[in-house]
């Protein structure tokens, strides 16, 4: 092969450079987010695993049910605790620190929900 003395090392160097971001972070998934759970409450409106994956679906369901179907504004947890089916007046009552709860995971997953363009977060956390 003509000029293999230069081409093969150059190819290896090129591949190395292109994949360098992967080598740089290999074996490290980054710091896992640890959202701060509320201290005074132990039970959420749905099981943790469901809330972790589908809280946004739940919020949309609440919104459509209340606004369009005239659904109830108060819900009950499995243990019978009443809660307000609302992001601003319900979720944030327990999860009162948006930075430590919402943002922690959202930043890690690089998602930018537009909830807070309109909804107000609790004052003390702002």
């Amino acid at each position: 092969m003509y000029g293999k003395g230069r081409i093969i090392p150059a190819l290896i160097l090129f591949l190395g450079l292109v994949t360098s971001p992967m080598w740089y972070k290999s074996g490290d998934a980054g710091k896992m987010p640890k959202p701060e759970k509320p201290k005074d409450y132990t039970e959420c409106v749905a099981p943790t695993q469901y809330m972790r994956t589908s809280h946004m679906v739940l919020l949309n369901e609440w919104r459509d049910d209340i606004l369009r179907e005239g659904g109830p504004r108060i819900g009950k947890t499995a243990n019978g605790t009443e809660y307000v089916r609302s992001l601003q007046n319900g979720c944030m009552k327990c999860h009162s620190d948006k930075k430590k709860f919402c943002d922690d995971c959202h930043n890690y997953a690089s998602v930018k929900p537009y909830c807070w363009d309109c909804h107000l977060q609790p004052k003390e956390a702002m």
Binding site: R63, D64, I66, L67, R68, G70, R73, Q88, N89, Y114, D117, C118, H119, L120, P122, K123
Partner: protein, 271 residues
């Protein structure tokens, strides 16, 4: 070979006839259904469920000149309505206007009382029974709910402003600017945020929601609460013949805004 060709032509002919006849047959069937469902539109249908409505006694607002302004500021405060400080960008859920503006073209003769022109008249979304804004909205962001309230889902609003063009009452406002922003002097457009209610974002239309969020917890709309003492505003179920509002409408002559538009407003004015 010949007989095969004959069969082919027969089948082709039958298929063509079926193809032409089927859609028209379907159409006649569907039309019959449409006529049947439209039957309830002509006043014959018995109203069911709730239909919230309001009576506005203009005379009582003239006797108490500050009252209308108080209703406006209370509503705008609890709903986080921004004040952009100029008429062009103004956001209004409920506002005070003159008789000529609220009832344009309704002066059938020129010898009307002079006092009419200086009367402050409260205007807000009419929560029409036949709302043109709902028909105009391409995303169903605005909708009519079962209790007669024309509501809005700001999440779905794309800011096309078709509803504003469709509304004959000017009851809708567009957020040209960010409601969370600040003016040139560093003053926020929303003077005091109500933490219980969201704000809106730039690029959405907003309007009065008849205080759905208050009705849900058994309260009356904020403006009605302010005017409750003087009974300048009366709120209630139009479909309940025994409600206070139905009694007033039975005994008092009231007018509506632009009845000729065929929107059937839920707001009634005592002049």
């Amino acid at each position: 070979m010949n007989s095969k060709r004959r069969d082919f032509l027969k089948i082709a002919g039958l298929t063509a006839i079926a193809g032409i006849a089927a859609p028209s047959a379907f159409n006649t069937l569907l039309k019959g259904e449409a006529i049947a469902s439209a039957g309830g539109q002509h006043g014959a249908a018995v109203p069911t469920g709730k239909r919230w409505g309001m009576v506005i006694d203009v005379k009582k607002f003239s006797e108490n000149p500050d009252l209308a302004e108080k209703c406006v500021s209370t509503c705008h405060t609890i709903h986080n309505v921004p004040d952009f400080g100029n008429k062009k960008d103004e956001i209004k859920w409920i506002w005070v206007d003159s008789f000529q503006h609220v009832f344009p073209g309704d002066s059938s003769h020129y010898k009307q009382p002079e006092a009419l022109n200086s009367m402050p008249i409260l205007a807000l979304c009419n929560h029409c029974d036949n709302p043109p804004c709902v028909r105009a909205c391409p995303t169903q962001a605005t909708f009519k709910s079962k209790d007669g309230i024309v509501g809005m889902d700001y999440h779905r609003c794309i800011g096309c402003r078709f509803c504003m063009a469709a509304c004959p009452y000017g009851a809708r406002s567009f957020n040209w600017r960010d409601p969370r922003g600040k003016d040139a002097n560093g003053q926020p457009f929303i003077k005091a945020e109500n933490p219980k209610y969201p704000t809106r974002m730039r690029g959405v239309v907003e309007k009065c929601n008849f205080c759905t969020e208050r009705l849900a917890i058994g309260q009356i709309p904020a403006c009605v609460e302010v005017a409750a003492q003087s009974k300048a505003l009366v709120f209630g179920d139009l479909n309940d013949p025994n409600s206070e509002i139905s009694q007033i409408l039975k005994t008092t002559f009231t007018i509506q805004r632009k009845p000729s538009a065929g929107t059937h407003p839920s707001l009634f004015y005592i002049i």
